[in-house]
Structure formats: structure tokens, C-alpha cells
């Protein structure tokens, strides 16, 4: 049974995670102005159709807004944190050109992304035990080959403190 809609591949997690534009921390708002008809806006329309979900997935804290049929020429506008605005003309451009241009001016570079990933790996040590949010495992009973959780399967008598203290008491 195939997925519904045209190009339903856009709605897969794998496609969303493959987006390569990660904006720098100063970019707060992204605005796309395009027209619904006309050949000039074709690249901008494809950009909105294919690339916007990827961008929003990778940048959940950036506000993305679309405006249709306001101006004759399509363009992108970015609002940065210090009040600066960046205008990117999209008239007659292909959607791949637009996304590459945007990545070059406002995206984080490969080295920065890899450095951030390294920092994240260093920060989270897989050997630690703790809450699921921060660590892989919570208790040793979750590991295969170790003593199972006494909440599920009662421990053998030799390991139970209660039994041991009872034995000690009845010895003398």
C-alpha cells in the first residue's frame, strides 16, 4: 500500500533528517515570498514544497513564514538577532541553487556541525547509569547477563538480606 499524496517521500523521517541546512544561532525568522503562478516563481515554489520541511526539522526554533502573491518577484528574507535583515532574490533560480546559496550565507559549515556532534558525544557517556533522558540505561538489571530485576523475579535466598539475617539469628 503506497503512501498518500504527491511526493509522499517528503513525509518520511529519513527525508527530514537528511536536510543539510542548519542555520547559525543568530537567524531567528525566515520569510519566503512567492507566487502561485508564473515561471519565475517556479524555483521558489519547489523550494517551499521540498526543502522547507527539512529546514524546519533541523531548525525547530526558527520561525518560518510563507507569503503568497504579494509581490511580482519571489524572494527570501531572513531576520537576524541583532536586527539585521538579509534579502535573497529567488527570481528564476532553481530550488537547488536557492538552497545551496542559503546554506553558504547563513548555514553552519560542515566543520562546525562535526565539532558540535563531537561535543555532544563527549558530553554523554554511554557507560553512565541514570534517567532515560540523559543516559542509556537506568539500572544494571536491564543489561543482559546480569542479575534480573527483583521486582519481576525474586532473588535467590543467598542474596536476600532478610534471609541472611534470619539465618544468623537462628544459628546461635
Amino acid at each position: 500500500m503506497p503512501m498518500k499524496g504527491r511526493y509522499p517521500i517528503r513525509r518520511t523521517l529519513e527525508y527530514l533528517q537528511k536536510g543539510d541546512i542548519v542555520f547559525k544561532n543568530t537567524v531567528k525568522i525566515m520569510t519566503v515570498n512567492y507566487n502561485t503562478h508564473g515561471e519565475l516563481s517556479d524555483g521558489a515554489r519547489k523550494f517551499v514544497f521540498f526543502n522547507i520541511p527539512q529546514i524546519q526539522y533541523k531548525n525547530p526554533w526558527v520561525q518560518v513564514m510563507m507569503f503568497k502573491n504579494l509581490t511580482p518577484a519571489p524572494f527570501l528574507k531572513f531576520y537576524l538577532d541583532d536586527g539585521d535583515q538579509v534579502l535573497v532574490d529567488a527570481e528564476g533560480k532553481d530550488h537547488k541553487d536557492i538552497s545551496q546559496h542559503v546554506k553558504k550565507i547563513l548555514g553552519k559549515s560542515e566543520e562546525v556541525l562535526q565539532a558540535e556532534e563531537l561535543a555532544r558525544m563527549v558530553h554523554s557517556n554511554p557507560a553512565n547509569f541514570g534517567p532515560k533522558k540523559y543516559c542509556l540505561r537506568e539500572c544494571m538489571c536491564e543489561v543482559e547477563g546480569q542479575v534480573p530485576c527483583p521486582g519481576l523475579i525474586p532473588l535467590p535466598n543467598e542474596m536476600r538480606g532478610k534471609y541472611k539475617s534470619q539465618m544468623k539469628g537462628t544459628e546461635d
Binding site: 513525509r11 523521517l13 524546519q56 520561525q63
Partner: protein, 143 residues
């Protein structure tokens, strides 16, 4: 009581003005794209913000850029008007700087009003010429 230094998470916001009935305050609707977990598709989710507008320059339907206030001004007012991005009915194309409506350029009236004195006498002469020619044309038709 502790004073909230940064009132909101969002420092800069773009939204559309939906109401201006409050004095010096604009009600702004902001849409953000939110992923539907099952469909994996992005939909617009609305949120209304109140923005301080001291000069009351906003009208309903403007697209507006808001900046977060350093301290919350009132119980609900958390942002202030930074700039009107697109004024309703008077959108200016950022690429050319001209007035625009949809996919057409609006022609401003001032272009036709240049050199009024000189053109009037010329136009009168033109009228005389055209009147003479029309009389000549009419005479053969009457006959």
C-alpha cells in the same frame, strides 16, 4: 518577587495584525510550523501576541515585525512594534522599492502630473488641430 529579565523565549517575531481596538496596543497573530507526529507534515499553528504600538500606526491586516520587551509591560503585553514589514494595501517590493499589488506594479499618479503648464498649451493646440480635422471629416459624411 523575582523580576523576569527576559519575558519570552522568542526575541523577534513576525506576525499579522488582527486587532487594533486596544489603545496603543496591537493584537498580532503569529504562525509557526508544527510537525504533526503521525502524518509527518508541517501545519501552521497560531498564537496571539499583544504588542505595544505607541503611535497607533498599525491597521488590521499589516504584516509586522515585533521585538521582545526587556521587561513585561503589562500582564499580556510582552512585545513592541519594531517595524511594519508589509502595510496592507501598500506593499512595497523590497527588491525594486516600488509599490506593488499582487504580481503587478502600481503606477503612481505623480508621474502624469509633471510639467503641467507647458503641456496645457500644447494640449490646446492639439485640440484645435483635432477639431479641425474632425470637421473636415464630418463634412463629406453629411453630404
Amino acid at each position: 518577587m523575582s523580576v523576569k529579565s527576559v519575558s519570552v523565549h522568542a526575541k523577534w517575531i513576525v506576525g499579522k495584525v488582527i486587532g487594533t481596538k486596544m489603545q496603543k496596543t496591537a493584537k498580532v497573530r503569529v504562525t509557526r510550523l508544527v510537525l504533526d507526529q503521525y502524518l509527518l507534515k508541517y501545519y501552521n499553528k497560531r498564537k496571539t501576541y499583544f504588542a505595544h504600538d505607541p503611535l497607533e500606526q498599525c491597521t488590521v491586516g499589516d504584516v509586522v515585525l515585533l521585538k521582545a520587551l526587556a521587561e513585561r509591560r503589562a500582564k499580556l503585553v510582552t512585545h513592541e512594534l519594531a517595524e511594519i514589514v508589509y502595510k496592507v494595501g501598500n506593499v512595497i517590493d523590497p527588491l525594486t522599492g516600488k509599490q506593488v499589488a499582487g504580481s503587478l506594479f502600481r503606477e503612481t499618479l505623480t508621474d502624469s502630473m509633471e510639467n503641467p503648464a507647458g503641456s496645457l498649451t500644447e494640449k490646446l493646440q492639439e485640440l484645435n488641430i483635432s477639431a479641425a480635422t474632425s470637421e473636415i471629416l464630418q463634412k463629406p459624411s453629411e453630404v
